[in-house]
């Protein structure tokens, strides 16, 4: 294949990665933006989404499409519930103290990860795509499902954007993000908002994982990379800025995908990780974020 089509292929691959990364990072960004806490266990919610998808599709052994549909609805809901429990019984108790929260979420990371190891096992398990069709480009055939992933991600992001900017729920979330105390004075139950945001954030990560799991496989350690990449995206995009998260996810997903195809995945990761550290030091508000108290 010539360079042009090869680049196109790499770009498509990058877009798939970017799509999934957008959703995952959005979850992390919401949590940090509204609650001002860093959730190190975010990658594990992602992993749980994939593992639960494997489990749920297993119920519908004969029919991958229905199984997948069930997984993408039930999975994120279950993960959201688990997240809610974590928030309610652990994070709320340490009063969202930044340092304590990080340590606590590290603990949650281990608990979720290792419990999965105990129940799901150490092997990677595949999940069937809900349907098979190939899109025939002039130079190569491409999986239709992957294009669907991109489409689904765009849809979900639009939905999220709509809820955040156009609905009352979104307004309440943004108010709490802006000034927690004032929001309280206006009768907003900050506790409920935090619980909802944390659950929704985890849910987004889970959805992203369910979308990607037919392409990759479900594995108990699969949360590590998405966690790191989400961090990178959220920080470069600007903590608390949805737009920034999306732009950064696009940039990083694409470049990661393209550099991985042409060079090595390790190098790609190195570049993006270094970039994050430097952005945090020299331009902590990222691309779009507002200079706020981290």
């Amino acid at each position: 294949m010539d360079f042009g089509p090869y680049l196109f292929l790499a770009t498509l691959e990058g877009l798939v990665q970017a799509a999934v990364l957008c959703l995952t990072a959005l979850g992390l960004s919401l949590v940090f933006g509204v609650m001002r806490v860093v959730n190190v266990a975010h990658g594990e919610f992602y992993m749980l989404g994939a593992v639960l998808a494997w489990w749920i599709t297993g119920w519908f052994a004969g029919n991958p499409a229905i199984g997948f549909f069930a997984a993408i609805i039930i999975g994120p809901l279950l993960v959201g519930l688990i997240a809610y429990l974590c928030e309610r019984f652990i994070l709320r108790r340490v009063e969202y103290d930044p340092e304590a929260t990080i340590v606590a979420t590290i603990g949650i990371l281990y608990i979720l990860q290792q419990t999965t190891l105990l129940t799901f096992g150490p092997d990677a398990r595949p999940v069937d795509t809900p349907f098979y069709f190939r899109v025939e480009f002039p130079w190569f055939g491409y999986s239709g499902y992957k294009l669907l992933v991109i489409g689904a991600a765009v849809l979900l992001l639009l939905l999220a954007w709509f809820v955040i900017t156009r609905t009352r729920l979104g307004l309440i979330m943004r108010a709490t993000q802006f000034d927690r105390e004032t929001a309280q004075n206006f009768g907003i139950s900050v506790d409920k908002v935090y619980a909802t945001v944390f659950a929704v954030g985890a849910g987004f990560a889970a959805v992203a994982a369910v979308l990607i799991v037919p392409i990759q496989q479900a594995h108990y350690l699969m949360g590590g990379d998405p966690l790191l990449l989400s961090f990178i995206v959220v920080i470069i995009g600007g903590l608390g800025s949805i737009r920034g998260t999306l732009v950064a996810a696009l940039l990083i997903g694409l470049s990661d995908g393209i550099i991985s195809v042409f060079f090595s995945p390790t190098l790609a990761k190195m570049v993006s990780t270094m970039l994050v550290a430097l952005v945090l030091v020299f331009r902590p508000q990222g691309l779009f974020g507002v200079r706020s108290r981290i």
Binding site: P98, V103, A104, G107, L109, Q113, Q114, V281, P284
Partner: protein, 318 residues
Amino acid sequence: MQPGYKSLLLHALVVIGLFLLQFVLPEYHHLSVARIMLLAVFAMGFNLLFGYTGLLSLGHAMFFAAGMYGAGLSVYHFDWSVPLSFIFGVGCGAMLSFVVGLIALRTTGVAFMIVTLMFSQVAYLIIVYFTTYTRGDEGLVMPQAARSFILLGREFLLTDAATRYNLSLILLTITMVVVLLLVRGKFGRSLIAVRENEPRTRMLGYNTFAIKLRALTVSGTLSAGSGAAYALMFAYIGSSFATIQYSIDPLLYSLLGGAGTVLGPVLGTFLMFYLIDIASEYTTAYLLVAGVVLVMLVLFFPKGLLGTVRERWLRWLP
């Protein structure tokens, strides 16, 4: 913060106790305790920054790895002697922590945690990327020539259990003394001042950036010493020692034993090591124990064991 012979006595007793312990330990535990003592050095180094200065670094694995690879690679590729490699490893750690500090200390709190985590990731990726020299995850076994060295006319065999044990103990003791001296004096007071109220401390005439940089450099150097000794003592270096796991371990040990105390990390390392050792006999998911302990500590026991002891009974504990 009373200095005094009580704390000196306590620390001396701990060292003597550890020294005597080697004569009663069965072989397996002999090796374990030697390992634990080196990891305790790492934890003490970490704790200087975390417990006393109040800076949570999530990237200390890179300093451990700097020492480990600095020593290990120079033995493996350049045939340097053990003592020279050790010093080189420590030097690498010192340099790395200084440079990282210059950049990372422009941030605090959560941003500092993330920046250190990111730098550590880059270090890990670099080790993996240059796999031709480091053999990445597979790692390198130290050659036979590095299993012994001559110092001050005497030959030391690193294959001998007693030699290993006592060298580890010596390193532990040196670290303990260094930390104790630093923490009890003027510098220790300034560290605590930075931790408790940095803006105030600045207005009292302290160059808080320089103080933090000094703390980070000492912390990183001690951690590198642990890594270098580990590589030479147990004859193996591998990229697994540069992963996030090794950044979280010293945090876990310090929290459990009591951050902000000198002996806390030592106690924490001992306890956690054996907790995980026992757990791994029952299940492959032994890190579950680590997770549960972390959550319990954070919820109910934030001062750790010795921290609580100090608060409730022994105010003079440094």
